[in-house]
């Protein structure tokens, strides 16, 4: 009975908000800034209900001035506060990129370790609803490529909460990228899976630990975010065809759990990396290289990459469908490496 009470199923957004509220209750120095995060509760429900409990001073709607408020979060963090700043869509990064990668990410290093920047930058990622080239990107690779920020990407409610606790408590800047399609929004139905049982108590999902979502012997499918669910669906299809796929949810890009990836590849001998981000110069290349460099002898086939082509995201339905990988694309790739 008490087990049930403390393990209720919640949406991913609810789980994130749970963690933020707990941290705000426990530490007056935690506050949230962003566009439409107060009265609206976040366009993607990322702050739903926080205003009622904490008021406008701690859940701050800000002017449409990403350079100013994300830079201000960095400044407040350097003073020792623990701000959370939300960039509504990751695509808007261009407006404020300098404050992110030249300031937030680098102050610790440039100061020879004297300064730390304990802030969280939350941002919504992902397509699947035809919002076109300026509102659908994932940009995992862009953030993960530039040193100095930890980067986490939850795929379900349990991880969303645990990673948020870990991110807020971390003394480094953490970029927390949440996929719109996983949030449990009324107007954008989520696939089966992201809504999970979540403990009432607070807990951390350690930043830098991947999770094996499904054990398998024949091929390792390594992915994150929305595509964890697509990979799990692909694994079901593959199982029907006699291919036993292992599915790894990275959960964190920086640091990257290289051991988990290598352990799996050494076991299965085959690798498919799946990413919603662009194909070139991104995480599919990174992880394929890791496997070929460090598990060459165990590989029975060259790794396959399933990613978005290097084109801006098109608007029209048939074009976006062509652009985004689905379970079928993942299963096809797995079939190719296991042939």
């Amino acid at each position: 009975m008490s087990q049930q009470a403390s393990e209720r199923e919640v949406t991913m957004s609810r789980a994130m908000v749970d963690a933020i509220a707990t941290e705000m209750r426990e530490n007056d120095e935690v506050f949230y800034m962003g566009e439409d995060v107060a009265d609206y509760g976040g366009i993607f429900d990322s702050t739903q209900g926080l205003l009622d409990e904490f008021g406008h001073d701690r859940v701050m709607d800000v002017p449409i001035s990403e350079t100013a408020y994300i830079g201000a979060a960095t400044g407040a963090a350097m003073e020792g506060m623990r701000p959370i700043a939300e960039l509504m869509f990751t695509d808007f990064l261009g407006v404020c990129f300098d404050q992110i990668y030249n300031a937030m990410a680098k102050h610790t290093y440039m100061s020879g370790g004297q300064v730390s920047v304990p802030m969280v930058l939350t941002t919504a990622v992902g397509g699947t609803y035809n919002d076109a080239a300026q509102h659908s990107q994932t940009l995992y690779g862009t953030f993960a490529h530039l040193p100095g920020m930890k980067v986490v990407v939850p795929s379900n409610a349990r991880d969303a909460k645990g990673l948020m606790h870990a991110a807020i408590r971390d003394d480094d800047p953490v970029v927390y990228m949440f996929h719109k399609r996983l949030m449990g929004l009324g107007w954008m139905p989520a696939p089966e899976g992201p809504k999970t049982a979540v403990p009432e108590e607070d807990y951390e999902v350690p930043i830098g630990e991947a999770e094996v979502k499904r054990e398998g012997a024949d091929v390792s499918i390594v992915t994150l975010g929305l595509h964890v669910h697509r990979a799990l669906a692909a694994a079901e299809t593959l199982a029907d065809d006699g291919v036993d796929a292992e599915v790894i949810d990275l959960r964190s890009l920086v640091p990257l759990d290289r051991e988990a990836i290598l352990d799996s590849v050494r076991k299965t001998g085959r690798l498919v990396v799946v990413d919603e981000d662009y194909h070139s110069f991104g995480l599919t290349g990174e992880i394929s290289a890791l496997a070929t460099e460090r598990a060459w002898d165990d590989l029975e086939a060259p790794p396959e990459r399933v990613a978005s082509p290097d084109v801006p995201i098109p608007y029209s339905r048939p074009l976006e469908q062509e652009f985004l990988a689905d379970s079928e694309d993942i299963a096809d790739a797995a079939n190719r490496v296991t042939e």
Partner: protein, 342 residues
């Protein structure tokens, strides 16, 4: 007082835009009711409608030629209509069709019509620097073309806007910045995020004229824009114009506006530029029958465009890989190289 002919043209623009938005709303909600699912129905993606903004589109664009440039924000349809963007192709684009303005790749926030030098974008204040660039090109080439950049009152806090004001001012460029002040930036009321009530005051620190049109009165906008565009065209530099408009709907379709007081919704409904212009037209001697004729013709044009657009084919999936470059690199096509359909 404007001539009756000028007012008739303005009326045509505003009623076309209003009816267009009403029809788009209808089409958009098809398949998304009763439970709103953004990815269902014939029009994909987000949709930002501009009902209540029409005066700012018509009143300014009435002074523009095809070779003048307009950059519009995420709420672009009324400006596009006033600028003379091809209505059929624009509609086909919004429906994601192959024969749309941008072959179905752009969508409603990314409409481009080079024939009339129109572009828009979904990133706040992103249109300001390109308008400065168009003004710069006109100046370098010694033409008298002008550029107009539209933005919301929420966008006046954006760095790109400030930098553009300064650049245009210091180089005396033929640019008019038009702020459409509808009091709201999604859920953020202006007073919570900006300390100046009048966006035109932003001109002060840049040594350029700033002017405000208090009511969404098409004729008043027309007159203010006449000065601003005239100043630009005659080589006398940029102007910042702020126009009071009203948001008659949610920020985007599906926005329940829980954050917005009922009185404010009501206020916006009551301050409508269309009846106001109708009164002016009647005073200028235009009959109700004539107004009805203009409206009916506009509605017919819109209905035809929507019907045409819905009949258009969707793009073929292979088109995904085309148009990344104007001068595509040699070699294997992107799809084959990247594990797409081979």
């Amino acid at each position: 007082m404007l001539t009756a002919d000028t007012m008739r043209d303005l009326y045509d623009d505003v009623v076309t835009a209003r009816y267009y938005e009403e029809r788009l709303q209808e089409e958009y909600l098809e398949g998304k009711q009763p439970a709103f699912d953004i990815s269902a129905g014939p029009i994909p993606g987000e949709l930002h409608l501009a009902a209540g903004h029409e005066a700012a589109g018509a009143g300014v664009c009435a002074h523009l030629r095809d070779d003048d440039t307009v950059t519009a924000p995420h709420r672009p349809h009324h400006v596009a209509i006033a600028k003379g963007v091809d209505l059929e192709k624009m509609t086909a684009e919004i429906f994601g069709r192959e024969t749309g303005l941008c072959s179905g790749k752009g969508g409603h926030m990314h409409l481009y019509d080079p024939d009339v030098n129109f572009a828009c974008s979904g990133i706040i204040a992103q249109g300001c620097p390109p308008a400065v660039g168009a003004g710069l090109a006109a100046k370098k080439r010694n033409t008298d073309a002008v550029a107009v950049s539209y933005l919301g009152e929420g966008a006046i806090d954006q760095g790109g806007f400030f930098e553009s004001l300064n650049f245009a001012a210091v180089h005396d460029l033929p640019v008019v910045f038009v702020v459409e002040d509808n009091d709201w930036a999604i859920s953020m009321p202006q007073e919570r995020v900006t300390d100046v009530e009048n966006a035109a005051d932003r001109a002060g620190g840049f040594d350029l004229p700033g002017e405000r049109v208090e009511f969404d009165d098409v004729c008043a906008v027309y007159e203010a824009a006449e000065d601003a565009v005239g100043r630009a065209r005659s080589g006398n530099g940029p102007t910042l114009l702020s126009v009071q408009v009203h948001r008659r709907m949610g920020h985007f379709m599906g926005d329940a506006e829980a954050y917005r007081p009922d009185e404010d919704v009501e206020r916006a409904q009551n301050l409508d530029c269309i009846p106001r212009l109708e009164d002016d037209l009647r005073q200028a001697g235009v009959s109700d029958d004539e107004l009805m004729e203009i409206r009916e013709a506009a509605e017919q044009r819109v209905d035809d465009a929507i019907e045409w657009a819905k009949d258009q084919p969707e793009p073929a999936p292979e088109a995904t890989y085309e148009d990344v470059f104007s001068n595509p690199p040699q070699g294997r096509p992107m799809a084959a190289e990247q594990g797409g359909d081979e």
